[in-house]
């Protein structure tokens, strides 16, 4: 018995090492997909409505980014947890119910604890429900994968989306107001007001950047930049 046990033990250890490497590879791939290659903001072009509408300042962008990130991770985790118990026929209504409840909770919490930010983000908090990234990841990834992977995928997709939101918000805020993190205290509390940076002061700000057309143009430039970097990478 003992003699037989040894090779078997060895085998499991071996396979464990292998799965660890595989696991790392999977996480790496998920991160790569969410943050860059399949970025929901600038490659899949999902959730453009809030992306363009609320990114006029970094603070607004950060607020929406955190809310979306939270909903995405939570919905991916929950969907993955229940994936074996939900029949295929009714999976979509259930996913929608989960996402809608999560968003409503986030909305109530933001209303309670970040009141001014809640006012300035307005309708775009409840609109997270309709953000295609969330139902998209629930259906395409979380409903087919384990909880850990699903949560990690949600985190990476959320971070990818947040990165685009923040980049867009920072560019627009600098161009339009010459500041960064203006109004951050509405999100993080009064202690954080030192974060507000005034880069330059001007009477005649570049208003276009703060308006929706400016958001489209800058978004286009960010996508172009990403494509240019990819193209350069391929050439080398």
């Amino acid at each position: 018995m003992t003699q037989q046990a040894t090779p078997e033990n060895e085998k499991t250890v071996e396979s464990k090492v292998e799965t660890n490497a595989e696991k790392n590879a999977i996480y790496k791939e998920l991160a790569w997909q969410g943050l860059w290659k399949n970025n929901p903001g600038i490659v899949q072009l999902l959730g453009l409505c809030p992306l363009l509408a609320v990114t006029n300042t970094v603070t607004n962008a950060l607020g929406l980014a955190i809310a979306t990130l939270f909903v995405l991770v939570a919905s991916n985790t929950l969907v993955s947890m229940i994936r074996h118990h939900v029949p295929k026929a009714i999976r979509i209504p259930i996913f929608v119910m989960i996402i809608a409840s999560l968003v409503t909770c986030v909305q109530l919490l933001m209303n309670a604890f970040t009141y001014e930010l809640y006012l300035s983000l307005g309708i775009f908090i409840p609109l997270i429900v309709t953000n295609c990234i969330i139902i998209g990841r629930a259906e395409a990834f979380a409903s087919k994968n384990g909880v850990k992977h699903a949560a990690f995928d949600g985190l990476m997709m959320g971070l990818g989306f947040s990165a685009v939101l923040l980049l867009l918000g920072a560019t627009r805020e600098v161009l339009a107001q010459g500041t960064l993190f203006d109004g951050i205290e509405t999100l993080l509390g009064d202690w954080s007001s030192f974060l507000t940076i005034t880069l330059y002061h001007t009477e005649t700000s570049f208003l276009l950047a703060a308006l929706p057309p400016g958001a489209f143009i800058i978004m286009g430039l960010i996508i172009a930049l990403k494509n240019a970097i990819d193209a350069r990478g391929e050439n080398e």
Binding site: H85, I94, I98, S101, T104, L108, L109, Y115, L207
Partner: protein, 212 residues
């Protein structure tokens, strides 16, 4: 078979609906008092910008009542009034008013008026004037709105409540006359309303409801 599948799915859906609703209801219950407090604080912040906090000692939310005046306070608009009193004596009022004379739609204002008829201050609650031109009525864009502080209205000098371009006293800001003029006239109308009703306004029964 089909029936059992349907009922199974139905039960599952119902179960999820119950769980989700319960979660939302719990969060709602927990956040409700905090949200109410936040809304009150936000309103108080506006009021205290207009009427100094230490100048009154009554519960200003409890004093709120609703008024209407189609010609002076905006057509078809119900406006809230808050009364500030100290030791039972009237100190100041904050009236909401609306004007449609701006460039784009309604401009909603909060006008603070001291008991002697002087303007305590004016703030824009919401507007949709042209960014870069008309939005200088916001305090974070320009100091213009402070120019009403301590002004008062006298019937025989009514013409002075106009922008300078039309022969009045109020400076318009660069690039726009319509928006400043709309605000000037709205403040003037509010003062006229105040002068007309000053005896009843301070003793009006509160009727705004819970806390508003």
């Amino acid at each position: 078979m089909i029936l059992s599948a349907i009922s199974r799915n139905g039960f599952l859906l119902a179960a999820f609906a119950i769980i989700c609703t319960a979660a939302v209801a719990t969060v709602n219950q927990l956040t409700k008092p905090v949200i109410a407090k936040q809304e009150q604080m936000a309103l108080l912040k506006t009021i205290n910008q207009l009427i100094p906090k230490d100048s009154y000692d009554n519960d200003i939310f409890a004093s709120c009542f609703i008024i209407n005046d189609d010609t002076l306070l905006g057509k078809d608009r119900s406006q809230q009034v808050f009364v500030a009193k100290k030791a039972g004596k009237p100190v100041a009022l904050m009236l909401e008013t609306s004007t449609f004379k701006g460039y784009a739609g309604e401009i909603k204002l909060a006008v603070g008026i001291f008991a002697d008829g002087k303007v305590a201050g004016v703030r824009v609650i919401r507007h949709s004037e042209t960014p870069g031109l008309g939005d200088k009525i916001q305090t974070n864009k320009s100091d213009w709105i402070y120019s009403f502080n301590n002004k008062h209205y006298q019937k025989d000098q009514s013409a002075r409540w106009e922008v300078k371009k039309n022969g009045g006293d109020i400076d318009a800001f660069t690039g726009a006359t319509i928006t400043p003029r709309a605000i000037t006239l709205a403040v003037k109308d509010t003062l006229i309303y105040f002068n007309k009703n000053s005896d009843t306004l301070f003793n009006h029964p509160a009727n705004c409801g819970e806390f508003e």
